[in-house]
C-alpha cells in the first residue's frame, strides 16, 4: 500500500518535471528578456500551474457561458471558502472541504428555488454570500489575514509542490471527464429536454457539471483566487463564442485564450511586480475586447465598416 503510494508519487513527480522541462524548451525559444524571468524553480512551478489552470478554466468556461451559469459559477466559487477554511482546520486536502460546501450550496440554491417563491438569482445571492461570510468568519479566527488574501486573490508565485500536484491531478480529471462525457454534456448544454427524451440522466449530468466546476475552482485557488476565478470561467468562453460557430473550435479557442492569459498575466505580474491574479484576468479581458472589436462576424469594427459600405 505504502509502496504503491510512493510509486504513484514519484511517477507524478517525474511527470511534472517532464512537463516543466517541455514548457521550458518552449519558453527558452522566446527572447532572453522574456525567458529570463522563468529560470527560477518557483517561476517554473507558477508557469505550469498557470498553464493548467488556464486550460481547464477555458474548457469549463464554454459550458458556463453557453449554459448561462455565470452567476452559478460565481456562487460556487464563493461558497468554496468555508470548505477550504474547515479543511485547513482539520488538516484535510482543500478539495474535499471545498467540494462539500460548494455542492451543499448549489443543492441549497436548487431547493430554495423549487420549494419557495424566491427566484433563482435571489436564491444564489443569498446562499453564496452567507457561505462566503461563514468562510471569512472562520478564517479570521484561524489564520492570518495574508493567508485569507492568498485564498481570495491567489498567490501563484508561492505555489508549493503539493498545490501544483493537486492542480495537476484536478486538471487531468477535468479533461478526462469532459472527453468521456463530451456528448451528454454538449446535448445537456444545448437542449436538456432532448437529452431527457433520449433517456440521459440529466440530474447526473447537472451535478456532474457542478462537480467539475468545483474541481476547477479549487484547482485555480492558488493561481487567481476565489474572487477572480469566475472571470476565468466566463471570459475565455465568451471571447471564443464571439469568434466561432463550432463547439469544438470554441473549446479550442477558449482553452488557448485561457492558457495565453494565464502565462502572459504571470509574466506581466513579475515584470511589473503586481498581483498575478489581477494581471491574468486583465489579460483575458484584453482578449475579449479584441474579439469584441475585431471578430470577423460579431466584431463591432467590421459591422460598422460593413454598414458604412452598404449605406
Amino acid at each position: 500500500m505504502v509502496d504503491s503510494m510512493l510509486i504513484i508519487e514519484s511517477f507524478s513527480d517525474a511527470l511534472i518535471s517532464g512537463l516543466i522541462a517541455a514548457l521550458m524548451t518552449v519558453v527558452n525559444l522566446l527572447p532572453s528578456s522574456v525567458s529570463e524571468a522563468f529560470q527560477y524553480a518557483f517561476m517554473q512551478r507558477a508557469l505550469l500551474t498557470s498553464v493548467l489552470v488556464g486550460a481547464i478554466c477555458g474548457m469549463l468556461s464554454c459550458y458556463v457561458v453557453l449554459k448561462r451559469w455565470s452567476l452559478l459559477g460565481d456562487a460556487i466559487s464563493h461558497a468554496v471558502l468555508p470548505g477550504v477554511a474547515i479543511a485547513y482546520l482539520l488538516g484535510w486536502p482543500f478539495f474535499v472541504g471545498a467540494f462539500i460546501t460548494g455542492a451543499l450550496t448549489s443543492v441549497g440554491i436548487g431547493a430554495i428555488e423549487r420549494n419557495t417563491r424566491i427566484k433563482s438569482d435571489a436564491a444564489m445571492g443569498l446562499m453564496f454570500t452567507a457561505s462566503f461570510a461563514l468562510g471569512v468568519v472562520i478564517i479570521s479566527k484561524l489564520a492570518s489575514s495574508t493567508h485569507l488574501m492568498h485564498i481570495l486573490f491567489g498567490n501563484v508565485l508561492g505555489v508549493r509542490h503539493s498545490a501544483l500536484m493537486l492542480t495537476f491531478v484536478a486538471s487531468i480529471i477535468a479533461i478526462l471527464a469532459v472527453w468521456l462525457a463530451y456528448r451528454p454534456l454538449l446535448l445537456y448544454a444545448f437542449d436538456p429536454q432532448q437529452a431527457q427524451a433520449l433517456g440521459f440522466n440529466t440530474q447526473v449530468i447537472h451535478y456532474g457539471l457542478i462537480l467539475l466546476l468545483t474541481l476547477t475552482i479549487v484547482a485555480s485557488l492558488e493561481t487567481v483566487g476565489i474572487i477572480l476565478v469566475v472571470a476565468m470561467l466566463i471570459t475565455p468562453g465568451a471571447t471564443a463564442h464571439l469568434l466561432t460557430d463550432r463547439f469544438k473550435t470554441m473549446l479550442l479557442i477558449s482553452v488557448s485564450i485561457g492558457i495565453c492569459s494565464a502565462v502572459i498575466g504571470l509574466w506581466l505580474s513579475v515584470v511589473f511586480n503586481v498581483a498575478s491574479g489581477g494581471a491574468i484576468v486583465l489579460v483575458a479581458f484584453g482578449f475579449f475586447i479584441m474579439a469584441l472589436l475585431f471578430s470577423p462576424k460579431q466584431g463591432l469594427v467590421l459591422q460598422q465598416w460593413r454598414r458604412r459600405k452598404m449605406g
Partner: protein
C-alpha cells in the same frame, strides 16, 4: 397483461395523469390512448397543457400522479432505448449555440451511440459507426437540408430551423415521434414538406403524435384527434372532433376554466370513454 393483447396496441397509454407547474395544476386526470402506427393530433387552446403533456412523455417533467406506458411497458424503458423522438418548439432551442446543422441532427443519434463499443464513443461523431452518419444524411435529405449541413444553425430561416429539428427527430429512427407544433410559423413550402415527411413516417409504421393549431391540415391528414384543455375534452376521428361545434365547445371550455379557475368540477366526470 400487456403486449400480447389482441386488440390494437397502444403506442402510448396515459393513465390518471396529473401534472402541475409550481403549484398550479395544468393537467388533471388524463386518460389517453395513442394508437400505434397512427397519426394523432393534439388540439387545444393556448395554455391547455399540450406541451406539458409532452414534457411528461419526454421525462423532462415529473407527473404528480399517474402512469405513462409505451407498448405496454413503462415509457422510460423506451426512452432509454432511443425509441421516443421529440421535436421541440422553435422557441425552446438556443439558436445562438455554436453548432452546425449536421451536428444538431447528429444529436438525435446520441441515444443510440450508447450501444456502441467504448473506443468508438471516444471518437468524433464522424468516425463513428457508419449507421449514424447514414441516418443523419437520410434525415437531412428527407427534409431537403443536406446542402445546408455545414451552416451554423443560427443562420437558418424559420422554416429551415423547423426542418432541422424534424431531421433530428427522424435521424433517431424511433418508433414514436412526438412533435410540438411542427407547423407553427413555417413558410408554405416547408409546411408541405413537413406534412409529406410525416405522412411517409406514418406509412412506414411509425406512431406520429403532434400538437397543432392547424385545423385544415389536421382534418386532411391525421387519423385520430385528442382535444385537451386541462382535462381530456374528447377523442375520436378528425371529422367528429374537429367539427365547428366541438371546437366551439373547446373554446368555451377555456373561458369557463378561466372564470371558475381553481374550484373545478369533479375530475372523474371528465374522464373520457376509452375503448
Amino acid at each position: 397483461m400487456n403486449t400480447d393483447m389482441s386488440h390494437p396496441v397502444a403506442a402510448i397509454e396515459v393513465q390518471g395523469l396529473y401534472a402541475a407547474y409550481q403549484r398550479q395544476i395544468v393537467l388533471e386526470n388524463i386518460h389517453l390512448t395513442f394508437p400505434a402506427g397512427k397519426w394523432t393530433a393534439i388540439v387545444g387552446p393556448n395554455g391547455a397543457g399540450k406541451s406539458t403533456l409532452f414534457h411528461v412523455l419526454t421525462g423532462s417533467m415529473k407527473a404528480l400522479q399517474g402512469s405513462v406506458n409505451a407498448f405496454g411497458e413503462p415509457i422510460v424503458k423506451h426512452r432509454r432505448a432511443g425509441q421516443i423522438a421529440y421535436m421541440a418548439q422553435r422557441e425552446a432551442i438556443e439558436w445562438d449555440f455554436p453548432v452546425s446543422v449536421w451536428d444538431t441532427v447528429m444529436g438525435g443519434r446520441y441515444g443510440h451511440m450508447r450501444d456502441d463499443v467504448l473506443w468508438r464513443r471516444l471518437l468524433p461523431a464522424r468516425w463513428h459507426h457508419a449507421r449514424h452518419t447514414e441516418a443523419v444524411e437520410k434525415a437531412l435529405i428527407a427534409v431537403d437540408m443536406l446542402v445546408h449541413a455545414e451552416r451554423p444553425i443560427g443562420a437558418l430561416s424559420g422554416g429551415q430551423k423547423k426542418r432541422v429539428l424534424l431531421a433530428r427527430a427522424l435521424a433517431q429512427q424511433a418508433s414514436i415521434l412526438l412533435l410540438d407544433e411542427p407547423l407553427a410559423g413555417v413558410d408554405p413550402p416547408s409546411e408541405k414538406l413537413i406534412l409529406a415527411v410525416l405522412r411517409r413516417e406514418r406509412e412506414a409504421g411509425k406512431t406520429v403524435i403532434m400538437v397543432t393549431h392547424d385545423m385544415p391540415g389536421a382534418r386532411r391528414y391525421v387519423d385520430h384527434v385528442v382535444l385537451i384543455n386541462r382535462f381530456v375534452r374528447g377523442t375520436g376521428t378528425p371529422e367528429d372532433m374537429l367539427s365547428e361545434t366541438k371546437l366551439a365547445e373547446l373554446a368555451v371550455s377555456s373561458i369557463e376554466q378561466t372564470t371558475t379557475d381553481r374550484q373545478t368540477v369533479p375530475a372523474a366526470s371528465f374522464s373520457p370513454e376509452q375503448g
